[in-house]
Symmetry: C4
Subunit: 177 residues, 4 copies
């Protein structure tokens, strides 16, 4: 899949990547223990992608309607401090993050997978979604990853950004030494 010139330009100038959690960073499975605790599964490959993206100076943030210690543990592990969880009003969370980071909406991408993400997706420069998103969300997206949520979709997004910025080959070379 090659992106259009418009999308390539948005990727190459991206300053902030915002992510929904369930269905994007995970497969959309909500798991409860018999104690009512929530368990969440993430992709180790997504994790490396996000770390490389942050190392390259792109900010990464989370906007999600749900809240769990599992998500907090994952964000801690990856060094993501822009964690907006338990969010009812996603647009207001977006505005807070933009104000806090000084990044414009045009320099921001949001990756979501279902109806509650649409309001944010239409307000940022680059709307991204995953292979198993709702049809309405796919229609609103400039990029649809070939990967499903939780199965490397976010890694693909991170690589696309780093490649558009001309940084990927250098990263691979550094790891190969």
């Amino acid at each position: 899949m090659t992106h259009s010139t418009e999308v390539q330009e948005k990727l190459s100038t991206l300053k902030l990547l915002l992510l929904d959690v369930d269905g994007v960073l995970t497969s959309g499975t909500i798991t409860y223990t018999d104690q009512g605790d929530e368990i969440k599964s993430f992709s180790v490959k997504d994790g490396l992608g996000l770390r490389l993206l942050m190392d390259a100076g792109v900010r990464v943030g989370i906007i999600t309607g749900r809240s769990s210690k599992a998500l907090m543990a994952r964000c801690d592990n990856l060094g993501i401090d822009l964690l907006f969880d338990g969010i009812k009003d996603k647009v207001s969370a977006l505005e807070t993050i933009l104000a806090q980071t000084g990044v414009t909406a045009g320099e921001t991408a949001f990756a979501g997978d279902d109806l509650p993400d649409l309001c944010v997706m239409k307000r940022v420069g680059l709307a991204i979604t995953v292979a198993d998103a709702s049809p309405e969300v796919k229609q609103a997206s400039l990029i649809i990853t070939p990967q499903r949520g939780g199965e490397g979709a976010v890694r693909k997004i991170c690589e696309d950004v780093l490649k558009a910025k001309g940084l990927w080959d250098g990263i691979v070379t550094r790891f190969s030494q």
Copy 2:
């Protein structure tokens, strides 16, 4: 998949959606911890579908032979109060729910996936099942979702109801703003 006129009419007048849990709201995997506790995994997309359906005034209930805090946590999270778990006699649970809600069997759908669901399925107006149900249950169903249990089958059912009632486009528009 387009439904027959008969099925469309049943969907458009539906007042109550009853669901089996294992194999319908989940993939049918029964997970135990080494403490003997049970863990259950649900689909976040099913969850949104059920919430939208309840917002539209359709009642949602659960009839299941098993019982777990994980299921209670999920029902709490979704606002489902018609929870009949640990049920040996599913027909009697159906009758209790119909009496309690004042809905007729003809205005009710039940989605099940295996033999113990057959007795309820034949007593309601609309019997629904999932892609990976037992053959005997598929034969007894008016709708078979293309999705497997736990992989968005219930979301598909909810969307079918909301579309038949002419409510889906308005919902998408509302989320898009």
Copy 3:
């Protein structure tokens, strides 16, 4: 898949079904918590099959090299009391079970999926395995289920036995009322 006359006869006279756990009743995934506890996932459809088989008077037992509270919880739930776990010498466990139940090896089936099951499989009348077993085990089996371990393979075995005994149609009719 239709079975040979020889296999059909073995199924119709079967008195005891013995099962390996990991890779047969489960997908072969070994899951540890950070406390070192083991979690195990089973199929709800397998569970119903086993209960129907035991209701029909066929004994069901477990022979497995591993041991966990998760497995004990599952056996409790299904009413399986012939639980031989943490077994190093599977042949000796087989002999104990045959002596205890008074069933002959010829009237016994064993379903396994990997090399440590071979010694038992060659000693019983009917060796069964699953779609994703080791090639060496498949070669030693009279039945290979189309289903993978943990994905309904045991349900298929139970249905095959109940059908060979001419009991399945009556069971479905009973559930349909």
Copy 4:
């Protein structure tokens, strides 16, 4: 898949198999409980392969960037004592293991799946990867297993080594008795 003569020779003289964990011994899923604990899932078939390999005198070790009690429990269970977890500098861990075991880099294989494994893979005699590895890692590997990480890839590696050493048939015969 048949290996080249060069690869067959490396397999037949192999003395040490080193493994990355996430994405090789697991599917690359990172699971957190709501307590922030990490859960890990392994393949029972990989486990048997590793035990047979160690029985045959091949040393097995782990080099991984992450650390968890789940991994420690799995290594305990399998009898793997060369556990280097929480490793930032994988090359230095490799050198420690080689010094500790007295095995040369040429007699060592490393199986990894992502960029941080490249530095070790290019320093050992035999670089191995899995079906769902990053493209850059696949390009650096002499063996790519048809299996994905966590789905029997390590079992395939162990069998390849034991077959190249002419030991597999004897193992199968021993289990068949």
